[in-house]
């Protein structure tokens, strides 16, 4: 059990890095997912096709493959994902600005992959709004944009919160994979490093790592359960 106390800073550092990548990836995926969702419900057929293709590709691909593309395909194209070195942001999230690109590659893969699921969560929210609402808005003469902005989206938001939350939880869990793709020092890579290179006993390390992930996922899950129960009563 000593490793938990001796190496507490390592565990805390891993937790902090995992939290950073999850925070950045969540924001990126929410933005990109919203864009794709707009494409998927837009009245212009080619844009709809683009959105559908995007979702079909990334929903059916293992995240591992996406990460391989990002970690080995991007360097083969000569890209170091330098566009993510955003001045200001990289002073807070120091890994964004390092010369080793793997944090940025992992971030790109997570965002691309999660955005597909975010899009589906948002779209399921839009679909949950009774069709009569949108029809009534149309019969009042609202345009597509007005219809979305004033009638459909305010209502769909409620139905989207819970699916969105579980997508984010899944993303936190998926972020464990980047540790195996060259991101040094996140929780999962810490587990590998402490047990194999550090030679520490397995059980305490496993407990420490598990607690690190459970701190992030379980409260969020409990919160979602609560929200869902309250919504069920409200309906």
């Amino acid at each position: 059990m000593n490793v938990l106390i001796d190496k507490f800073d390592v565990f805390a550092g891993g937790f902090w890095l995992t939290l950073q990548i999850c925070f950045l990836a969540a924001i990126g995926a929410l933005i990109l997912g919203a864009v794709v969702a707009v494409l998927r419900i837009s009245p212009v057929p080619p844009l709809r096709a683009v959105g559908t293709t995007y979702v079909n590709i990334f929903r059916n691909l293992p995240l591992t493959v996406v990460l391989f593309f990002a970690a080995f395909g991007l360097p083969a194209l000569g890209s170091n994902a330098d566009f993510l070195r955003i001045p200001g942001l990289d002073s807070i999230f120091s890994r964004l600005g390092t010369d080793l690109p793997y944090f940025r590659f992992g971030l790109i893969a997570l965002v691309l992959y999660t955005a597909a699921f975010v899009c589906e969560a948002l779209r399921s929210g839009v679909n949950a709004v009774p069709p009569g609402q949108a029809e009534a808005a149309r019969s009042l003469g609202l345009t597509f944009g007005q219809n979305l902005r004033h009638v459909v989206l305010p209502q769909s938001w409620k139905a989207s919160v819970v699916p969105l939350g579980s997508v984010i939880i899944a993303m936190i869990k998926n972020s464990a994979l980047v540790g195996f793709f060259g991101v040094v020092g996140d929780l999962s890579q810490t587990a590998d490093q402490l047990t194999s290179a550090g030679g520490y006993p397995f059980i305490p390390v496993a407990i420490g790592i598990s607690v690190g992930y459970l701190i992030m996922t379980v409260p969020l899950g409990a919160l979602l359960d609560r929200i869902e129960k309250r919504q069920a009563v409200a309906r």
Partner: protein, 322 residues
């Protein structure tokens, strides 16, 4: 546009049709230009379209072609074996776990009035503890990433002197995670059933175990079938995690091929297409089953079943795994 595709906008009139046509053309041009500038140009500049890199994968006359596809077939076979084993075992374990949790929950409500007071208290305490333990196990393994579970299984089992093939580590790791998810899907399916079902079953004298097995479980399976099939897609995708414990599944084989031929982008494109083809057809199957089920419900004249909780279905839709 004979059939209306969305309730969000009207059937377009002549002007709207013109606007849609023009914006469609603009969108196509923009998308094509973007694809050319950001995908085709960088690829072509780096010579990624050369036959040297693609040949072993697409050209049957290439000397490496049979060898490469032989290896990919081998990896695909391993992936499917691992997926099939994991699916079967997590279905079995998940069903048992769901039944166990339902039974324990009803046990905690029993007062054991037949037994003497201390025995009754002991039994009540015991069932309460067991229910709490299973609940904690479910929450823990649901909250842990699958990668970490597989990694722990592969590292932890040899520590206790139980070493198997890499295949079994992968299957055990996947089973632990997915059986918990499936158990939650089935449990919420059973709890979502009208309470009259269980009441009627106990009224005609079925034991609690019979009630679950004969009445609740079949209905839960039926309602949750689409979610269950989607969970199978997740399992199939998750087998690709075998590479971290160096199980020879498709991705690992791909890595070996890249090590020899040095064409990462091409090999990953081929593997991606394989995965998309398999998983897409599975998702289509899930949709078809859902469609069939909803039609069957309608014609039977029974009320539509309560939709499963959104958190569970969306988790089962593939976001839950990797």
């Amino acid at each position: 546009m004979s059939q209306q595709s969305s309730v969000l906008y009207d059937v377009p009139g002549p002007r709207q049709r013109r606007v849609t046509l023009i914006s469609s053309l603009v969108a196509v041009v923009v998308v094509l230009a973007g694809a050319y500038l950001f995908i085709y140009r960088p690829l072509a500049d780096k010579g990624q379209f050369s036959m040297e890199l693609w040949g072993p994968l697409v050209d049957p006359s290439n000397e490496n072609f049979p060898l490469v596809w032989d290896r990919i077939g081998y990896g695909l076979k391993n992936t499917l074996i691992a997926a099939a084993l994991a699916i079967v075992s997590s279905l079995v374990v998940g069903t048992l776990l769901a039944v166990l949790r339902i039974q324990l929950k009803s046990l905690t409500r029993r007062r054991f009035t037949g037994a003497a007071a201390p025995v009754a208290y002991l039994l009540r305490g015991l069932s309460w503890v067991l229910a709490a333990v299973t609940r904690v196990c479910v929450e823990v393994f649901r909250g842990l990433p699958v990668v970490i579970t597989i990694f722990f299984v592969a590292r932890g089992f040899p520590e206790f002197g139980a070493s198997f093939d890499n295949l079994w580590y992968l299957v055990i790791g996947l089973t632990i995670y997915n059986s918990v998810v499936i158990a939650e899907i089935l449990r919420s399916g059973m709890e979502g059933l009208p309470s009259g079902q269980a009441e009627a079953a106990s009224a005609i004298g079925l034991s609690p175990f019979q009630t679950t097995g004969l009445i609740l479980l079949p209905q839960a399976f039926r309602i949750m079938l689409p979610a269950l099939i989607s969970q199978l897609v997740v399992v199939l995708k998750d087998t690709s995690l075998g590479f971290i414990i160096s199980y020879e599944e498709t991705l690992n084989i791909g890595k070996q091929i890249i090590g020899v031929l040095g064409n990462p982008i091409q090999v990953y494109v081929v593997i991606a297409v394989l995965f998309i083809a398999i998983n897409y057809s599975l998702s289509k199957l899930a949709q078809y089953v859902q469609h069939r089920l909803s039609q069957g419900r309608k014609s039977a004249g029974t009320p539509a079943p309560a939709p499963p909780p959104a958190a569970l279905t969306s988790q089962a839709e593939g976001a839950g795994g990797v």
